[in-house]
């Protein structure tokens, strides 16, 4: 049947890298997305301009190009920085850009832009009356966000969020190109060593399919949770 030629353990490790990478980038993306969305809705010109520039540039350029720019460019910046530190202060530290960190940051930055758009729409969809009622009750701004705005907003953000997460999960495959040992990279090496690309690529494809299907289940559960009390409106 399925003969992985002893690559099974490494493939599983790679799958773990994929999942960790995706989860951590999601955290960064959500935080950046919330910041971007509030900047766009703040009504102040400078934050709005910066946020718009960020979302336009990131969404207008392929993920892979941004990833290479940040990874290779970041490494060069770090080298220059350590050269400078050495020349100025005699400090001898070499900063190596870790491929994992670079991957997390890049994917986070890329998807922050997409999340920003999702959250902007969702925040706008929250009923003003609810927020007024909350501030009339004397809640602080942080409490209003945590108790009122966020739960109400999630209902509108979830479809977009789930889409973005599925795309993000598949985008993690690209980190294999910048040298991170994720599932795809292990599979590529294994196919080259054993000359059996079908076995390994189909296996990796199946794992991705499993992950996306599982995520869909989780999002269905979440949407049931955040739609509580709105069931009539759901079609």
């Amino acid at each position: 049947m399925l003969n992985l030629h002893g690559y099974g353990a490494r493939l599983l490790e790679g799958a773990l890298v994929t999942v960790e990478l995706a989860a951590l980038s999601l955290v960064i993306a959500v935080v950046l997305g919330l910041i971007t969305a509030s900047a766009k809705l703040s009504g102040r010109r400078l934050p709005h301009l910066i946020a718009t520039l960020y979302t336009t540039v990131v969404r207008g350029v392929p993920d892979l190009v941004l990833m290479m720019l940040l990874f290779f460019g970041g490494q060069m910046l770090m080298n220059q920085l350590s050269d400078l530190l050495h020349a100025r202060f005699g400090l001898d530290i070499f900063i190596d850009i870790n491929a994992f960190v670079a991957g997390v940051v890049t994917i986070g930055v890329i998807f922050g832009a997409y999340m920003g758009e999702t959250f902007r729409g969702a925040i706008q969809a929250v009923d003003e009356g609810q927020l007024e009622a909350a501030s009339a009750c004397g809640m602080s701004r942080a409490l209003i966000f945590r108790r009122i705005r966020f739960p109400l907003m999630m209902r509108h953000a979830l479809p977009g969020l789930s889409n973005n997460w599925l795309v993000l999960l598949k985008t993690t495959a690209l980190v294999s190109v910048i040298g991170l040992s994720d599932m795809v990279r292990v599979a590529t090496q294994a196919s080259k060593a054993t000359l059996e690309p079908f076995t390994f690529m189909l296996f990796v494809g199946a794992v991705y399919l499993l992950l996306t299907s599982l995520s869909e289940q989780v999002f269905m559960h979440l949407s049931r949770k955040y739609n509580a009390g709105f069931t009539e409106e759901r079609s």
Binding site: T55, V57, P62, V167, V177, V184
Partner: protein
């Protein structure tokens, strides 16, 4: 003022020796490769998706199910994996190296085209299927009441109406296919990204090489968006006034589409 600016610009350009006629020619090749890859896969994708989206909504499970399975698999796995599977897998098809196909599939262009087409067909089929299912019942009923035959209803009523509804999502797919085409550089195709990688490796100038590539993609994206918007307003004349107003209010940034 302008003197110092030109001298500054001159020295800035002189430091960036990577933009020689040679490297620009490589980028130009890359632009041509990217554009032809994207255009061909979109064209093929559009033509194949039309019948598939109809069959996707078929009453018979044996027609519907395989297409559902196909779109499910191709939308659920990364394009990179699909491309690797096709590019590295094609060698192992029996006797392919002796057949007339070999000179074609040995180069990365055709495997990449095949992977991108299969991928975009999966997404486009779902987009068109969604648009066709959402055809207002009244439109169909009116057409039937006029005595139109089924093919005529599809040609005159369903397709135009569905295309109008599908256009925003389809435009999104067009942009995403452009962005996905960067992945072709991983199987040694010299598209824009491939050119940038080549120049980066030769001059060790990551910023210049990749930022230039990014600007090229941005320029193509924005021109595509402009064309798509023209197309949308052509198909939705009733929205023209609204759109013009909205454009005044918002910067073009918000118009760049979401991921699917």
């Amino acid at each position: 003022m302008s003197d110092s600016l030109t001298s500054w610009l001159g020295s800035w350009l002189a430091e960036r020796a990577i933009f020689t006629p040679d490297t620009l020619a490589i980028y130009w090749q890359g632009i041509q490769t990217t554009l032809s890859l994207v255009a061909l896969s979109l064209l093929l994708g559009f033509v194949i998706s039309l019948p598939l989206s109809l069959a996707r909504g078929s009453r018979h499970a044996w027609v519907r199910r395989p297409i559902q399975a196909y779109t499910y698999v191709f939308r659920g796995t990364p394009l990179l994996v699909q491309l690797y599977l096709i590019y590295y897998g094609v060698v192992f098809i029996e006797d392919v190296q002796e057949s007339w196909l070999w000179p074609l599939v040995k180069e990365p262009f055709l495997p990449a085209l095949l992977a991108f087409t299969l991928n975009t067909v999966a997404y486009t089929t779902e987009i068109f299927h969604g648009a066709i299912t959402n055809t207002p019942r009244g439109e169909m009923e009116a057409a039937r009441a006029c005595g139109m035959s089924k093919p005529l209803i599809y040609r005159r009523i369903v397709f135009p109406s569905a295309f109008r509804r599908a256009l925003p999502a389809y435009g999104n797919e067009v942009i995403l296919t452009l962005h996905a085409s960067a992945i072709a550089s991983t199987v040694t195709l010299m598209d824009i990204t491939g050119a940038a990688q080549f120049i980066y490796a030769r001059y060790y100038a990551p910023f210049d090489a990749f930022i230039f590539a990014a600007l090229l993609y941005l320029a193509i994206t924005l021109s595509l968006l402009y064309a798509l918007r023209r197309l949308e307003s052509r198909f939705n004349p009733q929205l023209r006034g609204v759109r013009r107003q909205r454009r005044k209010v918002m910067f073009f940034g918000n118009a760049i589409p979401q991921k699917p």
